[in-house]
């Protein structure tokens, strides 16, 4: 059982900034995300695109914003459960909650902050009739740990950045990489496309286009796939792994059944106060919540996270008073023993 003060569901910008604000109040956080990496929409949908409305950043790439948020909260040592979806929530007698993921990992906390954005990112699965039989037995829709493919034969399908980037990466790890796409054209960063071309020329990536994977075979695990070139005859390829990368789409999913008031696919909260939901102790912040005048913007999520942490503090430390402290004045004390503080000005006479 993982225990923490604030359990955050969703490691997008809102969830990541919550770690910092909570840390200032000496509250520990643990984050759960269905994605294998933090950043939410910023890392899944548009990591290489600029954002222009983050206060004080005239321009910042979404991927860099994620990096900076992680760096900012690092000294508060957040825990992460990545690549798992929060599935169920149970209220305990002592008022705390236990949240269990689809992989069975259990987390306990007195406060739960849902920062789930548009929902948990779920892979778009190709339509192949027995594909679900091979899930986790050769078929994977995202790559959590590339090492599991060391010296294995891998088939990747897809035509976007992740298909290109993983083909490049795995060409050094796997014994054999085959990339299959419905068209001859790929869409990705120019250097990725060129790199794949280069690896293909060197025989390190086996490229099959325009083609589609049309069947999967195997007994207890995936053993081979059938690929059909447009207008051609099906061909079999022996493989240890098949990784279709057709992007992920967000689904509110199990949270919709947690007894929370839902409106327009979002969780209703009290915006006059602290973004608490209809269940005391459960908050919803960032894109996942709704209230009159709600705007789904990163800066709004930051504000909501900050106010939510004040309310969480009162739940976790009943009866204790809290005064606002400026980081400039009181510095930042990390849970790792680090301390950041403003340099003292010197007091010295001038002759």
């Amino acid at each position: 059982m993982i225990k923490t003060d604030i359990l955050i569901i969703g490691a997008g910008p809102t969830g990541l900034f919550t770690v910092f604000e909570a840390g200032l109040l000496k509250l520990k956080c643990h984050l759960i995300d269905a994605l294998p990496k933090p950043g939410g929409q910023c890392s899944e949908i548009y990591p290489k695109k600029p954002i222009y409305d983050i206060p004080a950043y005239p321009e910042i790439l979404a991927g860099d914003l994620t990096k900076k948020l992680l760096e900012q909260s690092k000294q508060f040592e957040p825990g992460f459960t990545l690549g798992e979806r929060a599935e169920t929530i149970e209220k305990q007698g002592n008022g705390s909650f236990i949240v269990t993921t689809n992989k069975g990992t259990k987390h306990q906390a007195p406060v739960v902050a849902i920062a789930g954005g548009l929902g948990s990112f779920e892979p778009r699965k190709p339509v192949l009739k027995n594909i679900s039989n091979f899930e986790d037995k050769g078929v994977a829709y995202m790559i959590k740990d590339p090492e599991v493919y060391r010296n294995k034969r891998v088939v990747i399908a897809g035509g976007g950045d992740s298909a290109l980037d993983w083909s490049i990466f795995l060409s050094d790890v796997a014994s054999e990489v085959t990339l299959i796409h419905r068209r001859n054209e790929f869409r990705g960063a120019l250097d990725s496309v060129e790199k794949v071309q280069d690896l293909k020329n060197k025989g390190k990536i086996n490229l099959i286009t325009p083609a589609e994977v049309t069947a999967l075979f195997g007994h207890n695990k995936l053993e081979s796939i059938e690929v059909t070139k447009t207008g051609g005859i099906p061909q079999r390829i022996d493989t240890d792994a098949f990784i279709p990368l057709f992007g992920l789409s967000p689904k509110l999913g199990p949270i919709a059944n947690w007894g929370l008031e839902i409106e327009k696919n979002a969780i209703k909260v009290n915006n006059a106060l602290d973004y608490q939901t209809n269940i005391p102790g459960i908050f919803a912040i960032g894109d996942v919540n709704t209230y009159p005048g709600k705007l789904k913007l990163i800066l709004c999520g930051f504000h909501e996270a900050t106010l939510m942490c004040q309310a969480a503090y009162k739940i976790i430390n009943p009866g204790k008073r809290l005064v606002l402290k400026y980081t400039t004045v009181s510095g930042v004390d990390g849970f790792d023993g680090s301390r950041k503080e403003a340099p003292k000005s010197v007091v010295k006479s001038i002759d």
Partner: protein
Amino acid sequence: MSSDINIKITDRLGVTHTIEAPTDMALNLMEVVRMYELAPEGTIGVCGGMAMCASCQCYVQSTHELPEKSDDEEAMLSEAFHVKSNSRLGCQIQMIPEMEGLEVELAPEA
């Protein structure tokens, strides 16, 4: 208003809505669908209109001459599901006076 055009949008439940879309707000079809809430929040416009998610895919039923597909739109449609010969991405169709009378049906949620 004179700058409005009339378009017909059939939602994912099969209901056809006739709506007025402004042409002076640089809106695209996906944004019009969201403005009139013809599809639940979060099920359309996921990528914000960058031709990167296909949540705004629609089937064009009228014979309007639409702008050619960009490489991005072409690439996205080649990876989307439920694609037909008249599929387009709503976020790539701008609301301009030439679109008067446009008729589209939203593709199923993928």
